[in-house]
C-alpha cells in the first residue's frame, strides 16, 4: 500500500505565543493520492545579479517556519529536499546537508550555526515566500533556538520512524506515540521520505495551509529581531533579522536597543541560502542586514533594531550569553602561542558567546581561560580550532581566583594590603600567615521537573553546595537555589546537570561574592622533590580525590627508571596519596646479531634523544608531556 518510507510525520506544533490557530499539518496516507508534483514557480528576477523586489510578497503570502527534530532524525535532509523542490538549489546527488556549512557540522551531523533559507513556491496560483529558519539542535544553544523560533509562526516536527531491529519502518506505531506524547492526531501526520523525496512537496503545501502568516504591519515603525550574526572579513557583521514591523532598506539609520549605537544600513537581502540582496525587506520577512558593524558583539542574538528617532519596545527575551563551562586553553608548545592567539581571535569573531580571558600556568606557559555555553560548545570550538586553523591545544581545568586575608605584618607590607588575590598556586601563602582563606562563589538557580529533584540535590551535595531555597513554581516544576563554590562548577557541573535531567533542568547563576574556605595547597612530589608546576590549591575535602587522580596519571606518564619512583600528593608534610613506579629489573635486548644491529641502534638513539629532552626532578627523569597528561581536562566520555 504505502511505498516504503524511512521518516514519518511532519507535524505542526502549536506555538504558545503569537498565533491562536493551531498549526497542524494533515496526513495523506496514500502516496498515490498525492497530486503530481509540480515545480512551477515564478522568480521575481531574471538574473542573480539584479536585486530582488520583495514587495511582491504581501504578508499573507509569507510563512516563517522551522524544523524541529532529534539528533540524526533527518532535519537537514528534509531541508535539502525543500531547497531542491523549490528550485532554490539545483537538484543533484551532491546535495547533502546543504545548510550545514561548517566541517564540524558535517562530521558530527549536527547543526551548530543556524542557517536560514528563503524559498519561493507557487501554489494554487499564488506565489509564496517560505522562510525556513534552521536551528541548532543542542541544548547548549537553547538560547539561540529560542530566538530563532520567536521569528517563526509554526514548526515542522520530524520524527524518525525507523527502528533499529526492524528492516522496515513502522510509521503507524510512531504516529500512535506522537499522538500520545504531543497530543497531535495521527491524521495530521504526513509520512515522508526525505531521502527519496516522497511526500516532501506535501509538507510545503501543508505549511502554506496550516502555518499562519505573521501578524505584522508594514506601516508600523521598524522592529527587527536579530536572531543570528556572522562576521565577513570584507563586509563586516552580517545580521540575520526577522522583521516584526515596518520595513528597512539601504541608507536607513538603525539603532540597536541593547547598545544604543546607530548604524547606517549598507545592504539588505534574503538568504537562499546564500546572500541575495534586495531593495527592501518588509515586515514578516526574514533576511539579513549589513550596517557597518565591526564586531559580532554589536549584533547580539535577541537584540532589537529600530529606526533612528523611532524607538520601539524591544522584543522580549533578550539575554547576554552566560558561559556555563570553562576551560584553560594552552598551546602545545609556547612557540605556537601566536598562532593559537590569532586562531582564537578569528573564531570568536563569529561567536560572541565565547568569553575569553588571558591566563598562565607554570607548567604550560601563557594561555587563556575560556567560557562556553556548554560542553558541546567547547568541543565544537576545539574541533574548529584544529580543523579550520590547524591549532593544537591543551585543554585544562581552569583556575579560579582565590583570596587570602593575611595575618603576617611582613606579608601585608610586601603586598601593600591585607587581602590578596591568589591565582597562581605558587603564590599561595602559608596557613601560618593567613587568618582566613576565601573562595569565589556563585548563586545558582536550577529549574527542573520534580522527577529529577533527588538526583540534582545529590549532585549539588557532591559539589559542596549549600541550599538556599527550594520552591515549587508550578505543579511539576521546582526551583532550587544553591550557593556553589565557583571551582566546583567551572568544569563539568552544567553537563552533569543536563545529563541527569535528560536536558530538562535549566541552570543560571550570578556572582555571590567570596566565602571562607578550608583551602590547602597540595604539592606533588617525586622521590621527595616537589614538582612546582603541578602544585594546586584545593579545598580540604577534595584534596584526597584530586591528589589520588594526579598521582595515578603521573604514574602512567613517567617511564621506568633504574630506581623506584615514589609519586606523592602532600599537604605540607602530610602525604595523602601515593603511587609507585617500579624500577627496571631487566632492560636489555636479548638478540643482537648482524641483522638486529641497525634496528637496535636506531631505537637506542631515538630513546637517547628523548632522554635529553626530559626534565630532571631530583634524579627522576620526567617527559615533557607528563605534565600535560596530568593537567589536561579529562574527556567526559
Amino acid at each position: 500500500m504505502l511505498s516504503r518510507v524511512t521518516r514519518a510525520a511532519g507535524v505542526g506544533v502549536r506555538l504558545r505565543r503569537v498565533c491562536n490557530a493551531a498549526a497542524l499539518l494533515c496526513c495523506q496516507p496514500c502516496m498515490e493520492k498525492c497530486p503530481a508534483a509540480h515545480v512551477v514557480f515564478s522568480r521575481p528576477y531574471s538574473s542573480q545579479k539584479e536585486k530582488l523586489d520583495m514587495s511582491i510578497f504581501p504578508v499573507e503570502n509569507i510563512r516563517n517556519f522551522s524544523i524541529i527534530a532529534h539528533v540524526d532524525h533527518g532535519k537537514s535532509t528534509l531541508a535539502d529536499r525543500l531547497l531542491e523542490i523549490t528550485g532554490t538549489i539545483a537538484k543533484t546527488d551532491q546535495n547533502k546537508q546543504v545548510l550545514d556549512k561548517l566541517q564540524v557540522e558535517r562530521e558530527r551531523g549536527i547543526t551548530v550555526k543556524a542557517q536560514t533559507a528563503s524559498l519561493f513556491y507557487s501554489y494554487e496560483g499564488m506565489n509564496y515566500l517560505l522562510n525556513l529558519i534552521d536551528t541548532p539542535g543542542h541544548v547548549d544553544f537553547s538560547y539561540e533556538v529560542s530566538r530563532s523560533l520567536s521569528a517563526c509562526q509554526g514548526v515542522i516536527l520530524v520524527v524518525d520512524a525507523n527502528e533499529i531491529d526492524l528492516k522496515n519502518a513502522d510509521p503507524e506505531r510512531v504516529e500512535k506515540q506522537i499522538e500520545k506524547l504531543f497530543d497531535i492526531s495521527k491524521d495530521e501526520c504526513i509520512r515522508i521520505s526525505a531521502k527519496l523525496g516522497t511526500n516532501v512537496e506535501k509538507v510545503l503545501q501543508e505549511v502554506i495551509e496550516k502555518v499562519p502568516p505573521p501578524s505584522v504591519n508594514i506601516s508600523d515603525p521598524l522592529k527587527a529581531l536579530v536572531f543570528d550574526s556572522t562576521f565577513d572579513h570584507y563586509r563586516g557583521v552580517i545580521a540575520n533579522i526577522a522583521l516584526f514591523g515596518g520595513e528597512v532598506q539601504k541608507g536607513h539609520k538603525i539603532v540597536s536597543a541593547h547598545t544604543r549605537k546607530t548604524y547606517e544600513v549598507n545592504e539588505v537581502g534574503i538568504l537562499t541560502p546564500n546572500e541575495q540582496p534586495t531593495h527592501k525587506l518588509y515586515a514578516g520577512q526574514v533576511g539579513y542586514l549589513i550596517a557597518g558593524m565591526k564586531e559580532v558583539t554589536e549584533a547580539q542574538i535577541g537584540d532589537t533594531l529600530y529606526l533612528h528617532k523611532q524607538p520601539v519596545e524591544p522584543l522580549p527575551g533578550f539575554k547576554s550569553a552566560k558561559p556555563m563551562v570553562f576551560a584553560g586553553m594552552y598551546p602545545v608548545d609556547q612557540s605556537e602561542y601566536n598562532n593559537l592567539k590569532s586562531a582564537i581571535e578569528k573564531l570568536t569573531l563569529n561567536d560572541s558567546s565565547v568569553t575569553v580571558h588571558r591566563d598562565s600556568s607554570l607548567a604550560l606557559g601563557a594561555g587563556w581561560r575560556l567560557g562556553f555555553l556548554g560542553l558541546l560548545h567547547l568541543e565544537v570550538f576545539n574541533q574548529r580550532l584544529e580543523q579550520e586553523y590547524n591549532a593544537s591545544v591543551i585543554l585544562t581545568a581552569p583556575t579560579v581566583p582565590y583570596k587570602a586575608v593575611l595575618s603576617s605584618a611582613k606579608l601585608i607590607k610586601e603586598h601593600g594590603k591585607e587581602e590578596i588575590t591568589v591565582i597562581n598556586p605558587a603564590e599561595f601563602p602559608d596557613k601560618s600567615s593567613v587568618s582566613e582563606y576565601l573562595e569565589p562563589t556563585i548563586l545558582g538557580t536550577i529549574i527542573t521537573p520534580d522527577d529529577y529533584i533527588g538526583k540534582i540535590i545529590t549532585l549539588c551535595q557532591t559539589r559542596r553546595a549549600v541550599q538556599k531555597d527550594m520552591v515549587y513554581i508550578d505543579e511539576h516544576r521546582v526551583m532550587l537555589k544553591y550557593i556553589f563554590p565557583l571551582n566546583e562548577i567551572v568544569v563539568d557541573f552544567y553537563d552533569a546537570l543536563k545529563s541527569l535531567s535528560s536536558g530538562y533542568a535549566s541552570f543560571d547563576y550570578e556572582d555571590a561574592g567570596y566565602q571562607a574556605a578550608d583551602l590547602v595547597k597540595m604539592d606533588i612530589l617525586l622521590n621527595g622533590n616537589s614538582v612546582e608546576e603541578l602544585g594546586t590549591v584545593v579545598h580540604k575535602d577534595k584534596a584526597y580525590a584530586v591528589g589520588k587522580a594526579m598521582c595515578e596519571r603521573l604514574k602512567d606518564a613517567i617511564p621506568k627508571q633504574l630506581f623506584e619512583i615514589a609519586i606523592q600528593a602532600a599537604l605540607g608534610s602530610k602525604v595523602i596519596a601515593r603511587e609507585t613506579v617500579k624500577a627496571y629489573r631487566k632492560n636489555v635486548l636479548a638478540k643482537c646479531y648482524g641483522g638486529d644491529i641497525t634496528r637496535k641502534m636506531k631505537l637506542l638513539k631515538r630513546q637517547a634523544e628523548g632522554k635529553k629532552k626530559m626534565r630532571k626532578i631530583g634524579s627522576v627523569e620526567v617527559p615533557k608531556d607528563a605534565f600535560i597528561s596530568v593537567l589536561k581536562r579529562q574527556s567526559e566520555k
Binding site: 627496571y584 631487566k586 636489555v588 643482537c592 646479531y593 641483522g595 644491529i597 637506542l604 637517547a608
Partner: protein
C-alpha cells in the same frame, strides 16, 4: 639459488678486499633446509677469494626436525664444524605455543647426534618468558637441558613478533604474559645456575664453558667487519675496491626472486648502503661491546677512536660516575664494561653513555676535554 650465493659471495669479498675470513655463519631462517652441496659451494668460493683458515669456525643454524642424523653428517662433510640447535623449549606445550614443528624428544635426539658429530662445538637455544611459564617451570626445563647439553648455551627472552599467531593471541588477551619482574627473575636465576656449573656468560644471552665461545658472534660485538650474503643479509665493511675508506652498513634485497635477478644482473643484490660516520661506528662499538663480559678494552677502543680514549669520553661525566657508584658500570685500567648487575639493565645505561659519547665527540674540536 646456489650459484647466486656463490656469485654474491665472490663479488662482495672482492669488493671488501679482505684477505682473511675468520668465521662463517649459515643462518637466518632455517638454513639446514638448504643442502650440504650449497654449503660446500659457498665455502669453496669463500676460500678461493680469501684465506679461510682450516680451523675457521663454520656454524650452521639448525632446527631439530630438519636436522636428522644423516643430514647432519652430510653438513659436516661439506665443511660445517659447529652447530647451533634451536631447541627453544623442552616442553611440548610450549613448543606448540611457539609454533614449532618439533617435539622435545626430537630436539634431544638431534642434540645427541650433534654432540657426536660436533663435540664441544654444539650450541643450544632456549627461550624464557613464555606465557604460562613460571620461574620454577623455567628452572626445571633449564636444569634438564643443562644435564644434556654441550658447551654452549644461548638464552633468549621471548620477543613477540608482529603477525605471528602468538602475538595475536597475546594482543587479544587470550594469553597472559608473565610479569616483568617474573621474567627478570627467570633471567637472573638462569645466569646464576649456569655460572654455578662452570659456564662463562660472555655476552648478554650467551654462555660457554671450556672455552667454547662463538668467534663469529664475538666478532659482531667487537665491531669487526662482516659481509652478509643472501636475501635480507646484513653487512658492515669498507668497499676498498672502490677506493672508499669509510665503513658501510649494507642490507641485501629481502625478496628472494628480486635478489636473484639483481645478483644475476649486477653480481650482488645490495638493496641499501649507508656510509657510517666515524661517530656512528663508535656508537656501534659502544653498544655492542658493552654486551660482553669483557666490555671494551682501551686498546680495542683506540682502534676506532684514535685520539679519544675511554677516559676522555666518559671519565668526567657526572652521570657516568653515578652509574659507577651504583655498581652498574666499571671504568678502569682495563677499559669500560658492565658489572654483573649492570648487564641486566644495559639498555638503560646505554642511553646515558650514547648521549655522553655524542657530547664528547662534538666537543673534541673545542679541546674542552
Amino acid at each position: 639459488m646456489r650459484s647466486c650465493l656463490t656469485r654474491e659471495a665472490q663479488t662482495l669479498i672482492r669488493l671488501s678486499q679482505v684477505q682473511r675470513i675468520s668465521s662463517v655463519f649459515f643462518g637466518g631462517g632455517t638454513p639446514s633446509l638448504a643442502s650440504p652441496l650449497t654449503i660446500a659451494a659457498v665455502l669453496e668460493t669463500v676460500s678461493r677469494c680469501a684465506h679461510l683458515a682450516a680451523d675457521a669456525e663454520i656454524t650452521l643454524e639448525a632446527n631439530p626436525t630438519s636436522a636428522g642424523a644423516l643430514r647432519l653428517s652430510g653438513f659436516r662433510a661439506s665443511g660445517v664444524n659447529r652447530l647451533s640447535i634451536g631447541i627453544q623449549s623442552l616442553d611440548d606445550v610450549e613448543l606448540r605455543l611457539l609454533g614449532r614443528n618439533h617435539t622435545a624428544d626430537e630436539a634431544l635426539g638431534t642434540l645427541e647426534e650433534a654432540k657426536k658429530l660436533f663435540p664441544g662445538r654444539t650450541s643450544v637455544d632456549l627461550i624464557f618468558g613464555l606465557p604460562g611459564q613460571s620461574v620454577s617451570s623455567w628452572a626445571r626445563g633449564l636444569e634438564e637441558l643443562l644435564q644434556l647439553c654441550d658447551d654452549h648455551v644461548s638464552l633468549y627472552q621471548l620477543t613477540l613478533e608482529r603477525g605471528t599467531s602468538l602475538f595475536k593471541q597475546v594482543q587479544r588477551g587470550s594469553l597472559p604474559m608473565p610479569k616483568q619482574e617474573v621474567v627478570a627473575e627467570m633471567y637472573e636465576s638462569a645466569r646464576e645456575m649456569l655460572r654455578d656449573i662452570g659456564f662463562r656468560q660472555y655476552e648478554v644471552s650467551n654462555f660457554a664453558r671450556n672455552g667454547a665461545l662463538s668467534t663469529h658472534n664475538l666478532s659482531y660485538w667487537q665491531g669487526s667487519q662482516y659481509i652478509g650474503i643472501g636475501p635480507g643479509a646484513h653487512g658492515r665493511f669498507v668497499p676498498r675496491a672502490r677506493g672508499e675508506s669509510l665503513r658501510e652498513a649494507r642490507i641485501q634485497t629481502l625478496e628472494p626472486d628480486s635478489w636473484m635477478k639483481e645478483v644475476l644482473a649486477f653480481g650482488h643484490g645490495t638493496r641499501k648502503r649507508t656510509v657510517l660516520s666515524q661517530l656512528e661506528v663508535l656508537e656501534e662499538v659502544l653498544v655492542l661491546g658493552l654486551r660482553t663480559d669483557t666490555g671494551i678494552t682501551h686498546q680495542h677502543w683506540q682502534q676506532f677512536a684514535a685520539s679519544l680514549s675511554l677516559w676522555d669520553m666518559f671519565g668526567s661525566s657526572e652521570e657516568v660516575k653515578e652509574l659507577e657508584d651504583q655498581g652498574l658500570l666499571l671504568l678502569d685500567n682495563r677499559g669500560l664494561r658492565c658489572s654483573w648487575k649492570g648487564l641486566v639493565v644495559l639498555d638503560s645505561l646505554l642511553l646515558t653513555l650514547l648521549n655522553q659519547l655524542q657530547q664528547s665527540w662534538a666537543d673534541r674540536t673545542a679541546h674542552r676535554i
